[in-house]
């Protein structure tokens, strides 16, 4: 109802001073709506811009579209660096049966996931240092299987341990637009809890899920690999 009004409001613009402009805008809104609806993944603004007419102000199209869905059963949200339609959280109880009940992570796995998310890139040893307990193989395995974490590369340090980080699927699952949107991130940073003990010097203690490796990392390469995690200096 309210949205209906909103939409009529949108149309009303068409009868305003600059009809052509308004029409182009609302036509772009229709297109964006259809594209976002049909896309299985969140759509980055760039991609959307590439598919809408050139003279369209994509940001304003998106914000008008978002406003159109305020108060509705579906919202237009920003996740994982893109835009997507999602059902609203407060209706979860109505939709529960859509869910093929996703496997719940154990508390330990959730903790490891959080440590990876906030401290990424993080090695297994760093995770264990924080938790004070060794990480069971099954935990990392289960997390890799969720596809929320991935092996990023290797730390440039003795033993060249594998570094872990989160994926866009992680952001999407937890409804985050960027890794810097992690809850309480500033606070944890302020308390110095994100400072790695290992490469203390130059490390900027901000989690990075950037696809590019940090300068403390190197690619997952290496002959060393075939011989396991020990450094290759057998002299």
């Amino acid at each position: 109802m309210s949205a209906g009004l909103a939409w009529r409001g949108g149309l009303a613009i068409a009868v305003s001073n600059e009809p052509a402009l308004a029409t182009a805008h609302s036509e772009a809104m229709r297109m964006a709506e259809a594209i976002l609806f049909a896309s299985p993944e969140p759509v980055p603004v760039r991609d959307l811009a590439g598919r809408l007419p050139h003279d369209v102000d994509v940001e304003s199209v998106l914000s008008d579209l978002q406003r159109l869905y305020v108060g509705r059963g579906i919202n237009l949200v920003q996740v994982a660096g893109g835009w997507a339609f999602r059902t609203v959280p407060d209706l979860a109880y109505v939709l529960a049966r859509e869910a093929a009940e996703p496997a719940r992570l154990s508390r330990a796995a959730m903790e490891v996931l959080a440590i990876i998310a906030y401290h990424q890139p993080a090695t297994r040893a760093e995770i264990e240092e924080i938790r004070g307990v060794s990480t069971s193989k099954g935990t990392l395995d289960a997390l890799l299987e969720t596809r929320w974490i991935r092996m990023r590369g290797r730390r440039k340090a003795p033993g060249r341990p594998v570094t872990f980080g989160t994926t866009p699927a992680f952001l999407e699952h937890f409804g985050l637009n960027a890794i810097t949107d992690l809850p309480g991130l500033d606070e944890l940073q302020g308390l110095g809890f994100l400072e790695g003990k290992i490469p203390a010097d130059l490390d900027v203690p901000t989690p990075s899920d950037d696809l590019l490796l940090t300068d403390q990392e190197e690619p997952l390469d290496g002959d060393a690999l075939a011989f396991g995690p020990t450094p290759g200096e057998e002299d």
Binding site: V133, R150, K197
Partner: protein, 264 residues
């Protein structure tokens, strides 16, 4: 000032609560988790916990478990060894030592480790409480629209690939005979234990004393000694620790080699 003055000693009254502390260790995610739980029982802000009392409670817990012949995971015992060491340093007057952190600094470091763990716990909880895709929030599911046929594309992840390889190699492993396990402390375990123990202290520790006291029952004495020594030597070779012995058969003293970021 002595540790006794610095940290309010609340040890005695707490040992009465031992029965409370004889908990299923399975309920804890490791020694740090147990320590965190003990710290919370002090019912003060985590900034104000008494590390000495904490160490004593923990040691009491481990003693009780041992006296009940409960098997504790190596992690718990390593932590016990470390706390016993810390406790002795907190109780003794601090000698004027140029190198390494003071006992009070070590205690502070432990307390802040606990706070960090607690903070990450909280972060994990907040993450878990977010509306999650497929649980509270739903995407549109692709329906019956036929996908126009075009060039086929394929998708698979590195995870799929590694899992597939692992699965097959696993079959090969299963066909091998496995020999019944003897109680040994593996090199890897020993190494991890040493890392934890040394990671805390920046100064010389007489390793075997603590390790032997907490980490082993009599039947594992030999293996623990041998493995820790071997692991220590390996770590010395890698330049991670330094080893020092005053005289033949004197206690072996170990310390972490100063990495970057440590006080000069």
């Amino acid at each position: 000032m002595s540790g006794e003055e610095f940290f309010e000693g609340r040890s005695e009254e707490h040992s009465d609560e031992d029965p409370l502390l004889v908990v299923d260790v399975e309920g804890f995610e490791g020694p740090l988790d147990l320590l965190l739980d003990l710290a919370r029982r002090q019912k003060v802000d985590l900034h104000e916990i008494s590390v000495l009392a904490l160490a004593e409670q923990y040691l009491a817990f481990v003693e009780t478990a041992r006296s009940m012949r409960l098997e504790l995971a190596a992690d718990y015992l390593v932590m016990a060894a470390w706390l016993a060491y810390l406790k002795s340093r907190l109780l003794l007057p601090e000698p004027p030592k140029p190198e390494g952190p003071s006992a009070a600094e070590l205690a502070t470091a432990l307390a802040s480790r606990l706070r960090r763990l607690e903070a990450m716990r909280e972060a994990a909880k907040r993450l878990a409480d977010r509306p999650q895709l497929g649980r509270e929030v739903f995407p549109r599911v692709r329906r019956d629209e036929p996908a126009p046929s075009g060039e086929a594309t394929f998708t698979a992840s590195l995870y799929d690939l590694l899992a597939a390889y692992g699965r097959q190699r696993q079959r090969a492993i299963r066909t091998h005979v496995t020999v019944a396990r003897r109680p040994v402390w593996g090199l890897v375990e020993a190494r991890a234990a040493l890392n934890r123990l040394l990671g805390e202290a920046g100064e010389w520790i007489s390793l075997d004393a603590y390790l032997l006291r907490y980490v082993v029952g009599p039947e594992m004495r030999a293996t623990v000694l041998a493995s820790s020594l071997a692991a220590t030597l390996e770590m010395v070779r890698e330049g991670r620790v330094r080893l020092h012995q005053d005289a033949p058969f004197a206690p072996l003293m170990v310390r972490r080699a100063e990495p970057a970021g440590a006080p000069a």
